[in-house]
């Protein structure tokens, strides 16, 4: 673990790297035991080997909604970073490199990972400021906030010390925080952390191995962070990820795309989608008429979501449609979206407003259904 201390009154102060905790923390965390199959990443990777279960905590996302980290990211490749939007070096470099690498992944791989950024400076990082900062890298990145105590508690679950926010002798605010990106793989364990200095080439080399990592999930560590508004379901509930609303090119309906995963052992189906204050939404499917070689849209009564599988609403396939659109949409805006499942009931999430120019990088190009092993 490395720490970075950054004076943040403008860009007029030097960055000081405090590496004192690096070796000690790495040894301590690695002491939990390396993975049974050797390194998760390649031997030449500069990542630090650790073994940290995916922690269970709930913070607030940039839409003001509770975000249960372990539940929302379970079974996915997850990059967790702690930082703050005024960070002049480590945080933006990490996020810029990650976003570049992720943007170059195959769409199917992009769908399988999540980047979560937790601000350690919640006093200055409002939800709006955090969202705006993250949108500069990717509208997909999740931003989380909490009180300093809550965020400190989350960092302690990882094995990090809490962030230190202070003021130096010149009156500049200083923030000292853990700099590594913690990577949780599909087995719900972080086997590696990437320190500052990790380059895009390192990420690209390791990404296939991280995506390919499978295995038994470890139980999440108990949360020490209050989660007042989040109920832990007794049965696995579907999750809706990568939800987008696309700004129509002209006056017309707005498309809704997302991926719905069903972790339950029995199949489920999506019955409807709904947005708040945007307009009535419904399910449709694009159908190709081979006789006339034209595409047409037909209402869809339900969309099957296989057991332990994923249904994707994508361009050219099944999708949601908001018509008529009640108001103009703004790129990067987050809209509350409710997806009604036949068995599991309603699942609420937020959809990011994107443009058609973003669609290729935000979604896959065909409806696919995958079944987890």
């Amino acid at each position: 673990m490395s720490f970075v201390q950054v004076p943040v009154r403008g860009f007029d102060r030097a960055v000081t790297f405090l590496r004192a905790g690096v070796v000690l923390a790495a040894v301590t965390l690695a002491g939990c035991g390396p993975t049974s199959g050797g390194r998760v990443v390649s031997a030449e990777s500069g990542a630090t080997d650790v073994s940290v279960p995916r922690p269970a905590f709930t913070l607030t996302d940039t839409d003001g909604m509770p975000y249960a980290f372990a539940e929302r990211t379970a079974g996915t490749l997850t990059f967790l970073e702690f930082g703050y939007t005024n960070c002049p070096d480590v945080c933006p470099v990490h996020m810029a490199n990650l976003s570049t690498v992720i943007a170059n992944l195959a769409p199917s791989d992009r769908m399988r990972l999540t980047v979560v950024f937790v601000t350690v400076d919640p006093d200055r990082d409002s939800a709006a400021a955090l969202r705006k900062w993250l949108n500069a890298f990717s509208v997909d990145f999740i931003g989380l906030r909490g009180t300093r105590e809550e965020v400190d508690a989350v960092q302690q679950l990882i094995g990090f010390g809490g962030a230190i926010v202070g003021v130096d002798s010149g009156g500049a605010t200083t923030v000292t925080h853990a700099a590594p990106v913690v990577v949780f793989t599909a087995d719900d364990t972080a086997h590696v952390m990437y320190p500052f200095g990790t380059r895009q080439a390192d990420w690209i080399r390791d990404m296939p191995r991280l995506l390919a990592r499978k295995g038994h999930r470890r139980p999440a560590t108990p949360s020490s962070v209050p989660a007042p508004s989040v109920l832990t379901p007794s049965a696995p509930t579907p999750s809706v990820e990568r939800a987008y609303v696309v700004i129509p090119a002209a006056k017309g309906p707005a498309a809704i795309y997302f991926a719905a995963s069903n972790p339950a052992g029995s199949p489920d189906s999506i019955l409807s989608v709904a947005t708040e204050a945007i307009g009535p939404a419904s399910l449709h499917e694009s159908v190709h008429d081979h006789l006339t070689n034209t595409m047409s849209m037909q209402p869809l009564a339900a969309l099957a979501v296989p057991a332990r599988g994923t249904a994707r609403l994508v361009p050219g396939g099944a999708h949601g449609m908001i018509s008529p659109l009640g108001r103009a949409l703004v790129r990067g805006e987050r809209i509350a979206l409710t997806v009604q499942f036949a068995r599991a009931g309603a699942v609420r999430t937020t959809a990011t407003v994107i443009t058609y120019a973003d669609v290729d990088t935000a979604t896959t190009t065909a409806t696919t259904t995958t079944v987890r092993k």
Partner: protein, 270 residues
């Protein structure tokens, strides 16, 4: 205080910083060139030569000192390419043009020793000069060399000094009439310039086409402007490609018209 601009990973600030090593280096270059040119050479030099020398000193100073120096050393690959362009393609030839009278007199007077004369003649032979210059250009753009040297003031100084030395050697056969190689007339000089800078095209193309950041020092630098790392790298490649090519085209044009003018004189006389 740093004596030379280096990539220290610090947050960029527009507050002025002193780099005394740069000042001393520029002063030493001025003193060294004037000393080699010999006493009284400044007075005997024409106005154009003096202007060239002063312009060479100013461009060298601007390229090495704040703000371009530190930005080039640790923040933007495009600034690094611009610095390279200024040092090798502007400062070096201008300094040579500005020292021409004194240097010619010194060469005419002969070197202090035969060995020194032989070394001098060898280094500024067009073929050798081109090889030395391109070797410096190649070595100073190897990622491990850049990432290894730029974080220290001494390492960054080594690269900057090598560029200036390489630039002076490269431009010598074009600007200085001595030692005289009978067949190295203007057409050959134009060919020399074009062939001698082909390697820049290769480096520029690599920068333009690379999918990933080549240099860690710029990839991991604290952001200074809202420009993605790859775009900055491509801009650096563009500066290498177009900047060097532009200088070579202008220099070749001057050489061509000078040569054509000389060729036309006998015809006009007839």
């Amino acid at each position: 205080m740093q004596w030379w601009c280096a990539a220290l990973g610090e947050t960029w600030t527009w507050n002025w910083r002193a780099y005394p090593g740069v000042w001393l280096f520029v002063i030493a270059m001025v003193a060294g060139l004037r000393w080699v040119a010999g006493p009284g050479s400044w007075a005997r030099a024409g106005a154009g030569e003096r202007v060239a020398f002063i312009a060479g000193v100013i461009t060298l100073w601007i390229s090495l000192d704040w703000p371009l120096g530190p930005i080039a050393a640790g923040y933007l690959a495009s600034a690094h390419a611009l610095q390279f362009l200024i040092v090798t393609m502007f400062a070096a030839p201008l300094l040579l043009l500005g020292s021409r009278t004194g240097f010619i007199e010194r060469i005419a007077a002969g070197a202090p020793s035969a060995g020194l004369r032989a070394v001098g003649r060898t280094i500024v032979h067009p073929l050798v000069a081109a090889i030395i210059f391109n070797a410096i250009v190649a070595a100073s753009h190897v990622p491990s060399v850049v990432d290894g040297l730029m974080p220290t003031p001494f390492g960054a100084f080594m690269i900057d000094a090598a560029w200036l030395a390489g630039g002076l050697i490269f431009w010598w056969p074009v600007i200085m009439p001595a030692p005289v190689y009978a067949r190295f007339a203007e057409p050959m000089k134009i060919l020399y310039l074009l062939v001698g800078t082909l390697f820049h095209t290769v480096i520029g193309m690599i920068m333009l086409s690379a999918e990933l950041p080549i240099y860690g020092v710029y990839e991991l630098a604290p952001p200074i402007v809202a420009i993605p790392v790859r775009a900055d790298q491509q801009l650096a490649g563009g500066v290498m490609e177009l900047g060097v090519f532009g200088v070579i085209v202008v220099a070749s044009g001057i050489l061509f018209f000078r040569w054509a003018g000389r060729q036309g004189l006998p015809d006009q006389a007839a």
